[in-house]
Structure formats: structure tokens, C-alpha cells
Amino acid sequence: MTTRTPRRVRRGNVIGSAGLYAATAVAALLFLVPFYLIVRNALSTDAEITGEEWRFFPTDVQWGNVTEPFDDPTVDFARSLWNSAVVGVAHTVGTLLVCSLAGYGLARIPYRHADKVFYAVLVTLMVPTAVTFVPSFVLVSSLGWVDSYRGLIIPGLFSGFTCFLFRQYFLGFPKELEEAARVDGLGHWGAYWRVVVPNSLNFFAAIATITFISGWNSFLWPLVIGQDPSAWTVQVALSSYMTNQTVNFHLIFMATAISILPLVCVFLFLQRWLVQGIAQTGIKG
């Protein structure tokens, strides 16, 4: 009796865990299908993609497809990639700078009305920015910022939620470190840059990764602002492929692959911070 029970349990465990692995593997395969399709279509000829028989892999891998989106006269793909890179980097750097300073001020600098200021920030959390895109467009267009980097970048920098996250983080930052800095004669500003920021790089990296991904992938605001094709980001360019008169399957899938590649790299290298950041904060920009 005493020996039989564990054995039965163990055998159940083996079957159970084989089943678990099988089910997880099937789910994983399904999750990878879209990636497979991008690669397959990007490296095939249109004749093969639209052919009678389904081909799992191109018979002749078309490496020449890589340059095709850049030679397409209808959409300036290179320009849109560049725009996305500029917007993505500026959005990330700007958001981090502005929101972290404010978060630190709210968390650590004594001021009589700090709580009232904090409430003014909290109130904005109730309204997701996407919902107010019409009002924002009205404002930005009257500033004359349509079709410009300013219009694409600046309105998105002031995220109440990111500020909130930084404040929460700084509330938990060990006070002793700052006090040591103050003893050494540093003011708030010096303590912040020389002590607080260097000791918070993990948190900054997590927020930066999330912010960059959401900036690169955002669509509604760039669509509204980018009225002229020269101001399109890569997402708007991809979207335009879907409504074009002529469809070059290999070209648009190559363009999609190129647009995803930087993020997959960011993702694979920074996954640790990303997972950590999401688990801590529960956000995806």
C-alpha cells in the first residue's frame, strides 16, 4: 500500500506531463503560424503564393525580395521606416525624461500642495488617450503640426500613467541612498542624476522597452497626423498596402517582415526587463 500509491501517482504524473507538453507544443505551433507565413510569403514569388497547390516552403528562396519594398514607387517605404525610427526613439527618450522627473518630484520632493498636483495627474488616467484623438487632432492641427515630427511625437509624451508608475517606483526607492547624497552636498537635482537614476536602470529599461514598442506599433495617431505620405510611419505604410489597387504579396509581406524585425530583436534581447516591467506594472503602453 505504502509503496503502491507513490508509484501510481508517479505514473499518472508522467502521462500527465507528457500530455501537458504535447498540448503546450501544439499551442506554441499555432502561435508561430503567423510568423511562418510572413517568412514564407516574403521569400516566395507571387505565382507560388497564389498557386493552386499549397507550398509549405518556396521552391526557390527569393532573397532578391528583400530590396523590393525599397524600390516600390507607390509607397516610400524607406522614408516610413526612418520616420518610425525617429518617432520611436524620440517618443521613448522624451517620455522617460519628462515622466520620470515628474514622478520623482511627486514622490520625493516635499511641497505643500503636492497631493493636489498628484490628483490632477490621476484624473487623466480615467481617460485613455485614444478616446480623445479628435480633440487632440483639433488642437494639433490648429498649432499647424499636422504632417510633422512635432505633431507625431510631442502630444504623446505626457503620459499620466507612466508618471504614475515612476512615482510609485520612487516611493519604494531606498531613502538612505539619497540621504547619503545630500550629506555629500548634492541638491535634489544632483541626487537625482548621480544617485537615483544610476541605481534605477532596471526600471528605466523596462519602461523604455514598453514605451518603444508601443510607440513603434501605434497606428491611430500617426494615421490621423500623417496626411501626407512623407509623414507616414511604417504602420501607416503597411496599412496603405492593404487598400492598394494592385497587390504584390511577396512585397507587402517582405515589408511586414522588415517592420517587425527591429521589435523582435528588441524583444529577444530585452525580454528579461520587459517581463519584469509588465509583471510589475501591468501595462503595455
Binding site: 501537458l20 498540448a23 503546450t24 506554441a28 502561435f31 508561430l32 503567423p34 507565413l37 503564393i49 499549397w54 522627473l101 518630484g105 511627486l106 514622490a107 520632493i109 505643500r112 503636492a114 498636483v117 495627474v121 487623466t124 488616467l125 480615467m126 481617460v127 485613455p128 485614444a130 478616446v131 480623445t132 484623438f133 479628435v134 480633440p135 487632432f137 483639433v138 488642437l139 490648429s142 509624451l157 505626457f158 499620466g160 508618471c163 508608475l165 519604494g172 535634489h188 537635482w189 514598442i213 506599433n217 491611430l220 494615421l223 504602420q235 503597411l238 496599412s239 498596402y241 492593404m242 509581406f253 517592420s259 517587425i260 523582435v264 525580454q271 509588465i278 509583471a279 501591468g282 503595455k284
Partner: protein, 316 residues
């Protein structure tokens, strides 16, 4: 990092501060928060207030209003079949997407959490779609998986079983387009919420399971039902509310998958065509934006009620 630490922001300083010191720290406060607050004022508060003002005026093709019309724009929007229809579309969408994403992400988290080896690999696979944009995913879904012609993946696979081609996105009846819309979002979101569930699962003290085993609870459904689920309640609530708010803002996949259709428009897509489409009716568009803002405020207030103020507590 502990987001729950509640140290007072404005605690009294131990020694009575000299006046100059206090002025110094007030200056520092505004120096740190000033840039952000000015931006918040200009780009968040001003647009909403301006819109509120604009919504009482006739304003077509211009953002400088011409004629005061009172609540006319609101009446137009609230009796507009398309605008009200978009709220119905959102409701249908939320009813489908919220439970399915919740269930799938929880199932993935439970599975990954039980794996002994290759855990990091599977976690990465499920998480990877988070890096892909809604536009790119819509493109894959529309052009390749659910392409209505023969060479679309779904039609190819169904064809192996002798089924005819289905035009997935061409018509609202039968509403196959929901299958496309829901699967694309499931694929993009599930891994993200899986991470939240995984973090929560790892926070459940193992002693609880040991105690349950001693009390004779069978591993599997019983422990899941009586230990795991109750322990995940805070995260579950947070996930449901995050999903709901995200569904409310759905734009990208509807806009791209159903481009130029008059059906299957959620609120933001409807608003986009109303305010920025051929009419450029900023008055009615502003009224619509404010109606949507008020509705989402109700949801977030409810959320605050359920979870206590501040999101991090539940989502931790």
C-alpha cells in the same frame, strides 16, 4: 519593486525647516514636475475642454466654430444609427473577447507554470506576438490566413476536408468577420496577460498547496478551484478590466481588416470616419468624443470602486 509602499509625500521634515530651505524645495518641486505638468495641461486638458466647447457649435471643415447650436450635436450623435450601432458592436466585441482572452491567457500561464524544462522557451513563444503591431497582424490575417480566395490558409486547410471557399471578410452575413477579428486580438494579447497571470501564480505561497494536499484535496480541478482561482482573484479582476478598456479603444484591426465597410465599426472607427472622413464634422465629432469619454470614465470609476484606487495594486 514594492509599489505598495505608502510613504507620505508631504511628511513633515524633522527639524523645523528654515524658510529659505522650504522655498528651495518648492522651486525644486516645480523644476521636476513643471515640464510634465505644462505638457499635460496643453495636450490633455486643453483638447478636452476645447472639444467640450466645440461640441456646442457648428464646426465643419474648420476647428474655429461658426454658429452656436446648443445640444444639437449631441442629439445628432445619440440618435445616429451608426454611432449607436458602434456601441452595440463594441458590446458584442467585449462579450466575446474578454472571456476568451481571459481563459486563454490563464490556461497558457497554468501550462507554462507547470513545465519543468523549456519553460523559458514556451513563455517566449507565447509572448512573442506582443511585439507585433495590430496593423502587421491584421495584414497577415487579411492577406494570408483569412484571405477569401482559394490560397488563403484557412480556406486551404478547409479545402483539404472538402469545404468550399469562404469569403471571411466580405459580408456581415454570416458574420465570419468576427472570427477574424477575435483571433487576431487573441493572438496579439494572450501572451501579455499570460505574463500577468504567471507573476501572480508565482506569488501564491506553496504552503497553501501543501496544506490542501494534507487535507486530502486532489491535485487538478479541486486545488485549482479552491486554491489557485481564489488566489488569482485580484489579478483576474485587473485583467478583465484592462481587457475591457482595451476593447473599448479597439481601432487598428477593425480599421484595417474591414476597410471601407459600413458595418462592423466600433466607436473609435465610427468617430474617425465621422470627424476626419469626408464630412470633417468636428462639432459632432467632438460631441461623440465627449460621449465616449464620459462612458469610459464611468467604467474606470467602477474599476476604481472594485479594485481600490490605483491600478498597480490589482495588476501587481
Amino acid at each position: 519593486m514594492s509599489t505598495t509602499t505608502t510613504r507620505e509625500v508631504t511628511g513633515p521634515t524633522p527639524a523645523r525647516p528654515r524658510r529659505s530651505l522650504r522655498a528651495h524645495s518648492t522651486l525644486a518641486f516645480w523644476l521636476f514636475t513643471g515640464p510634465f505638468l505644462i505638457g499635460l495641461l496643453i495636450f490633455v486638458y486643453v483638447p478636452i475642454l476645447w472639444s467640450a466647447w466645440l461640441s456646442f457649435f457648428e464646426a465643419r471643415f474648420t476647428v474655429t466654430p461658426s454658429e452656436f447650436v446648443g445640444f444639437e450635436n449631441y442629439r445628432t450623435m445619440l440618435t445616429d444609427d451608426e454611432f449607436m450601432g458602434s456601441l452595440v458592436t463594441f458590446t458584442v466585441f467585449a462579450v466575446i473577447i474578454v472571456p476568451t482572452t481571459w481563459a486563454l491567457s490563464l490556461a497558457l500561464a497554468l501550462a507554462v507554470n507547470r513545465l519543468r524544462f523549456m519553460r523559458a522557451f514556451f513563455r517566449s513563444v507565447f509572448f512573442l506576438p506582443t511585439a507585433v503591431s495590430y496593423v502587421a497582424a491584421s495584414l497577415i490575417w487579411k492577406m494570408s490566413i483569412f484571405n477569401g480566395v482559394r490560397f488563403g490558409l484557412a480556406n486551404t486547410v478547409l479545402g483539404w476536408f472538402g469545404a468550399d471557399d469562404t469569403a471571411w471578410l466580405a459580408s456581415p452575413d454570416p458574420p465570419w468577420y468576427w472570427l477574424v477579428i477575435v483571433t487576431v486580438r487573441l493572438w496579439l494579447q494572450a501572451g501579455f496577460y499570460m505574463i500577468l497571470f504567471l507573476a501572480a501564480l508565482q506569488n501564491i505561497p506553496p504552503e497553501l498547496y501543501e496544506a490542501a494536499a494534507i487535507d486530502g484535496a486532489k491535485p487538478g480541478w479541486q486545488t485549482f478551484r479552491h486554491i489557485t482561482l481564489p488566489q488569482l482573484r485580484a489579478t483576474s479582476t485587473a485583467v478583465v478590466l484592462l481587457l475591457l478598456v482595451a476593447a473599448y479603444q479597439a481601432f487598428d484591426e477593425f480599421f484595417n481588416l474591414l476597410s471601407k465597410t459600413t458595418w462592423g465599426r466600433p466607436p473609435l472607427v465610427e468617430l474617425y470616419y465621422k470627424a476626419l472622413g469626408d464630412n470633417q464634422d468636428y462639432g459632432a465629432g467632438s460631441a461623440g468624443a465627449l460621449i465616449l469619454t464620459l462612458l469610459i470614465c464611468l467604467v474606470t470609476l467602477l474599476q476604481g470602486r472594485i479594485m481600490g484606487f490605483g491600478r498597480s495594486e490589482g495588476a501587481k
